[in-house]
C-alpha cells in the first residue's frame, strides 16, 4: 500500500486523527506520519483557524474536491487552498463565490445557513422583498400540490413582478 499523503513512499503506519469528533484514518509512510504527528504535538496549538482549515482544506474532511482547490474568488482572488490554510475568507465577495462550498461548513458551525437577525437600513427593502419572494414560492408549491393551478399561476406572476423589482 502507498502512503495516502505523499502518494510515493510505501505506507507502514496506521494513523488516526480526531478533529471535532470526526475520526479519520490513514495509511502513511513513517516520514509523513511523523509530520502529521508534529503538526498536532509541536505545531501551533489547535485553534479555531487551524480547525476550520482542517475542515475545509484539500485533504481534510472532503468539503472541497481536491481538483477544485484552485477555485478563486473573482473579487479578491482568494483561492480555496488559501482559505484552507488560514481559515479566513478574503472579502465579502468570497461568500458569494465560494457559496455552496461554504454551506456545509456554516451548517456545521452554526447549524443554519440563514440569517434571521438585524438587517442594515439600506438593505432592508431588498431583504424584505427576498423574504416575500421566498414566502410566495412556498405558497406556490403548496398550490401546485393541491392542484389549485389558477392560484399557482397568480402567485407565479406575483413572484415574477417582485423579481423584476429586485433586478
Amino acid at each position: 500500500m502507498i502512503c495516502e499523503r505523499c502518494k510515493q513512499q510505501p505506507a507502514s503506519v496506521h494513523y488516526t486523527e480526531v478533529i471535532n469528533n470526526q475520526k479519520r484514518q490513514m495509511y502513511l509512510c513513517p516520514g509523513c506520519a511523523e509530520e502529521a504527528q508534529k503538526a498536532f504535538d509541536l505545531g501551533a496549538p489547535l485553534n479555531l483557524h487551524n480547525l476550520l482549515a482542517g475542515l475545509m482544506g484539500p485533504g481534510g474532511v472532503k468539503e472541497v474536491p481536491e481538483d477544485e482547490a484552485e477555485f478563486l474568488c473573482e473579487t479578491c482572488g482568494l483561492s480555496g487552498a488559501a482559505f484552507g490554510q488560514s481559515g479566513l475568507l478574503g472579502c465579502g465577495g468570497c461568500y458569494q463565490y465560494f457559496g455552496e462550498r461554504l454551506e456545509p461548513l456554516l451548517k456545521r458551525i452554526h447549524g443554519s445557513i440563514r440569517h434571521t437577525g438585524k438587517v442594515p437600513q439600506r438593505s432592508r427593502n431588498k431583504y424584505l422583498l427576498i423574504q416575500e419572494v421566498d414566502r410566495l414560492r412556498a405558497q406556490m408549491r403548496e398550490a401546485v400540490e393541491d392542484e389549485e393551478f389558477e392560484r399557482a399561476a397568480a402567485l407565479r406572476d406575483a413572484i415574477r413582478d417582485l423579481q423584476q423589482r429586485l433586478a
Binding site: 496549538p45 485553534n47 479555531l48 483557524h49 476550520l52 473579487t75 479578491c76 482568494l78 488560514s86 481559515g87 479566513l88 475568507l89 478574503g90 472579502c91 465579502g92 461568500y95 458569494q96 461554504l102 461548513l105 456554516l106 458551525i109 452554526h110 447549524g111 443554519s112 445557513i113 440563514r114 440569517h115 434571521t116 437577525g117 438585524k118 438587517v119 442594515p120 437600513q121 439600506r122 438593505s123 431588498k126 431583504y127 427576498i130
Partner: protein, 388 residues
C-alpha cells in the same frame, strides 16, 4: 476619560460594583463584527486600503448624530501608543490580545475608538474592519448589546457594511457570520472551583451552545477563578435569542455559585474564614508577590467580601488590583525594565497601598472604618479608587 487617563488609571467603568449580580458576574460584553463592503478583509488589505478603512471609521464617529449619543470618541492609532500602553488596553479588556498579536498587518493600520466613559470601543482593522464592543459592569447583557446595536445603527448611516441577504453580516471568519454578535459574561466562580464542581457546570454550559474561556479569551487560562462564557453560534438566531440564551444560562450559573458559597459558609466556616482572612493578610502585608499568587489571593478576598465574611476592599478595588498586578501596568508604573524579583516587590507595594487604603477589620470583631487612612496611601491608591 481620555486615552491618557485610560492608560494611567487601573480603574475602568466595567469594574463598578453598583450593578446587578456583581457578587458573581464581573462584567457583560457585546461585540459586533462588521466589515466594509467593497474592501478585502484586513488580513488581505493593502496598506492603502487599510488606511481608507481607518479614515472612513474616523469620519463615521465624528458624525454629529454619533457624537450626540456617544460623545467625542477619539480614534487612536496603535502607532501612537507604546508597546506597554497597548498591552495595558488588553489587560483592561478594552482590546483583544489578537489585535496586538497579529503581525500580518502593521500597527499603523490599526486603530481604536474609545468613548470617554470606556463603555464603547471600536477596534479598527482587527480580524474584521470593525469590532464594535460594549462592556458593562455586572449582568447587563441587554444594555451592552443594546448600546452596541445603537452604535452600529449610527455607524451604518455613514458606512456601508458588507451584508448578504441570506447569511447576514459578512465577516473574515465564518464563525462570526450572520449577526456578527458575540456576547459574553465574565464570572467569578471561586466556590464552585473549591467544591470541584466547576468542570461539571461548565461542561453543561458548553452543551447549550456556549463556550467557556479564560480571562483574556481564546486559549488563555482561568486565572483568579474567572471564566468567560460566550455564545458560539452567530448565524440562524436573532440577536435577542442569543442574548436571552446566555442571560438565562448565566442566571443558573449564578444560582449554582451562590448556593456553593452558602454551603461553604455552613459546612466549613472556620476553614473558609481562615482562608480568606489569610489572603487579605498577605495582600496587606506582603513585600513580594508573584502574579499568579496575587490573582489567587485577590480571588479569595473577593469570595470573603462577597460572602460577608470579611470587611475587605470592595469588588471594584479588587478588580483594579487585577489590572495593577499585571506585568504591563507594573512596567508603566516603574517607567523602566524590571527584573522578576523587582516586579514582585513593586507588585506587593502597589497592592499593599491599594488594599490598606480600602480595608476595614473583621466584621465579627466590630470592624473599623470602611476607608482606611493609612499613611502609606499614595497618589496611585487614590486614583479611581474613591467610593462613589
Amino acid at each position: 476619560m481620555s486615552m491618557r487617563n485610560t492608560l494611567q488609571s487601573p480603574y475602568s467603568q466595567w469594574m463598578d460594583d453598583d450593578a446587578p449580580e456583581t457578587d458573581v458576574v464581573i462584567s457583560s460584553r457585546a461585540r459586533l463584527a462588521r466589515s466594509l463592503a467593497g474592501y478585502p478583509f484586513p488580513h488581505r488589505s493593502s496598506p492603502e486600503q487599510a488606511e481608507q478603512v481607518i479614515q472612513a471609521v474616523n469620519l463615521a464617529v465624528r458624525h454629529a448624530e454619533f457624537r450626540a449619543r456617544f460623545g467625542d470618541a477619539e480614534l487612536t492609532r496603535m502607532t501612537e501608543l507604546s508597546p506597554v500602553d497597548r498591552w495595558i488596553l488588553v489587560e483592561k479588556h478594552l482590546i483583544s490580545p489578537g489585535f496586538l498579536k497579529n503581525t500580518e498587518s502593521s500597527f499603523e493600520c490599526k486603530g481604536l475608538v474609545l468613548t470617554p466613559d470606556e463603555r464603547l470601543s471600536i477596534m479598527v482593522n482587527e480580524e474584521d474592519h470593525l469590532r464594535v464592543q460594549c462592556l458593562f459592569p455586572g449582568l447587563q447583557l441587554e444594555a451592552a448589546a443594546g448600546t452596541a446595536d445603537e452604535a452600529d445603527s449610527l455607524l451604518e448611516k455613514t458606512l456601508d457594511f458588507a451584508f448578504s441577504d441570506r447569511i447576514g453580516y459578512l465577516t473574515a471568519c465564518p464563525t462570526n457570520v450572520g449577526t456578527g454578535l458575540r456576547t459574553s459574561v465574565m464570572v467569578h466562580l471561586p466556590a464552585l472551583v473549591l467544591f470541584g464542581q466547576v468542570k461539571e457546570v461548565l461542561t453543561t454550559v458548553s452543551r447549550l451552545g456556549l463556550t467557556v474561556r479564560g480571562l483574556f479569551g481564546e486559549g488563555t487560562d482561568a486565572v483568579g477563578n474567572l471564566f468567560q462564557v460566550s455564545n458560539q453560534v452567530t448565524l440562524g438566531h436573532r440577536e435577542s435569542e442569543i442574548i436571552d440564551n446566555l442571560a438565562s444560562v448565566t442566571r443558573h450559573v449564578i444560582e449554582q455559585e451562590r448556593s456553593a458559597r452558602q454551603q461553604l459558609v455552613r459546612q466549613m466556616p472556620v476553614v473558609l474564614r481562615d482562608r480568606v482572612g489569610r489572603a487579605l493578610g498577605i495582600l496587606k502585608h506582603a513585600h513580594t508577590l508573584g502574579v499568579e499568587e496575587a490573582m489567587r489571593l485577590i480571588s479569595d478576598v473577593r469570595l470573603g467580601v462577597t460572602a460577608g465574611l470579611l470587611k475587605g476592599p470592595p469588588s471594584r478595588v479588587l478588580l483594579e488590583l487585577m489590572v495593577v498586578t499585571r506585568p504591563s501596568y507594573l512596567v508603566k508604573t516603574s517607567g523602566r525594565e524590571l527584573s522578576p524579583p523587582q516586579w514582585d516587590e513593586l507588585r506587593a507595594t502597589l497592592v499593599r497601598k491599594l488594599v490598606n487604603a480600602h480595608s476595614g477589620g473583621d466584621p465579627e470583631e466590630g470592624g473599623s472604618p470602611e476607608e482606611g487612612d493609612s499613611p502609606e496611601e499614595g497618589e496611585k491608591g487614590e486614583e479611581g479608587g474613591q467610593s462613589p
